[in-house]
């Protein structure tokens, strides 16, 4: 089949499907007589993505395949169609999700250790119901806590192809602030990485920065 014949079929298939479709799934639409290979499909997908330039939708590749979606720029108008506001997620949920995404597989006690607070069962349940996380195993320690990992649905929801596309975890920031005087002599490597060793003695306090808070 010619690329030009393939394009309308693949465009229609992606728009007809309720889920993103992989190159493989798109390939299954054709039989031997159609004579279509995956390379052709990939080229068609590229062409279709290019065709979206300047339009209200874009062809996006996420974890479970390709999907057409509304461009972010026009979305504010589209949301006016729906009376229901999109759900907002609490910081507690997002922090827990971040720990699961970046540190998977991870148990609830491990999450609590890093966050310094108890993780509510509700948060775990909400994320499981949304199918963003799932139990991937159990840690072999007393109590056998469940190990959580993220799912394809999580990646799809956040417009990601794979976990590598998550924003990189930030560098560890030093705890010192400009007011603290540092000893000039080099510190042991470990200390440099881990902590600002504040010299004994009085620390000057600067109240000028206090108005940052408002």
């Amino acid at each position: 089949m010619q690329i030009e014949q393939l394009k309308p079929i693949i465009e229609a298939a992606l728009l007809a499907s309720s889920q993103p479709m992989t190159v493989h799934q798109l390939g299954d639409l054709f039989n031997e007589a159609d004579d279509v290979d995956h390379g052709q499909i990939a080229r068609v997908l590229e062409a279709l993505a290019d065709d979206c330039a300047g339009r209200g939708i874009e062809l996006k590749q996420v974890a479970s395949g390709f999907r057409y979606q509304v461009r972010q720029e026009v979305h504010p108008w589209i949301t006016r169609m729906w009376t229901e506001k999109p759900s907002r997620y609490s910081r507690a949920l997002l922090e827990t999700l971040a720990l699961i995404a970046y540190r998977q597989p991870i148990t609830r006690p491990e999450i609590e250790q890093i966050r310094g607070v108890v993780v509510s069962t509700n948060i775990i349940k909400t994320m499981e119901e949304r199918e963003w996380i799932r139990v991937v195993g159990y840690r072999d320690v007393p109590g056998k806590p469940a190990l959580f990992g993220t799912t394809r649905a999580f990646l799809d929801y956040f417009n990601l192809k794979s976990l590598d596309q998550l924003p990189p975890l930030s560098e560890i920031r030093d705890m010192e602030d400009p007011q603290l005087r540092f000893e000039q002599e080099p510190l042991p490597v470990r200390a440099v990485r881990d902590l600002p060793i504040v010299p004994d003695g009085e620390i000057p306090t600067d109240d000028a920065d206090a108005d940052d808070t408002t």
Binding site: F158, N159, Q179
Partner: protein, 309 residues
Amino acid sequence: MSTEPIESQPVAITQDAFASVPQQQEMPLAIVRGQPMLQMPQDLYIPPDALEVILEAFEGPLDLLLYLIRRQNLDILDIPVAEITRQYMTYIELMRDVMRLELAAEYLLMAAILAEIKSRLLLPRPPIEEGLEEDPRAELVRRLQEYERFKRAAEDIEALPRLERDTVSVHAEVGERNVIKMPPPLELHELLLALKEVMHRAELFGHHAIRREALSVRQRMGELLSRLDDNSFHRFESLFDISEGRYGIVVTFLAMLELAKEMLVEIVQEKSLAPIYLKAKASQPEAAADAATDDTQPGEPAFVESSNE
């Protein structure tokens, strides 16, 4: 070495301004018992009235401590530990009413950790291994740094374009969806096993059934019956296909005999040497009586769920 805790003072601002802005860019502000709370705490001392708000604004003691260090330049060494601890103890009492004892306990634990750090710093250091001794704050700082990374990661995730809020997947109408049902695959082997089973059950493996069945004859019987389906007489010779050769002719002849034996056809000849005719003994009944017989009763299913057996 210690300084007095700086009181966080609620600043009066028109309530409307706050009612409409429940969440602002960086840190949530809130109304505490009708009083807007503008300033975030400047150290670990939280006015009891604001405690509930603090518990909601911060994701726990690490978050609060991080805030104080980053925003208020609080030095964790500078905390009046005794004072804080005493105050936190009163929160515990307060928390009993609000049923959030667990949360308050986390803050109290933090105060305890700070107290421990401070006490260790105050003690004289052993003279040996001076350079190698770990700062007592190291563990807490490490935890704060680790927490901060994920606090930022959560903000990063929050900022990612996501379905519902920033985009939606789009679809076109398909019209009628006829689901194609793929017929199940069948291995000849499976079929033969089924036959073995039923033959065993019916005890058909008796000596009379064991004889080599001429299946080509059985096939031909069906073919002949189909040709004779029109309820009229057919010339005997017309039923043979010469191009099949001798073997084919024999098969056809045997099929005729078998059909006659099973009384499925009648073979007639007016007189000797006259043409021989064949006719099916029965033809299609007027009504589709066959289909009607057990349509009402469910009977055995044609398919099984793919997972069982």
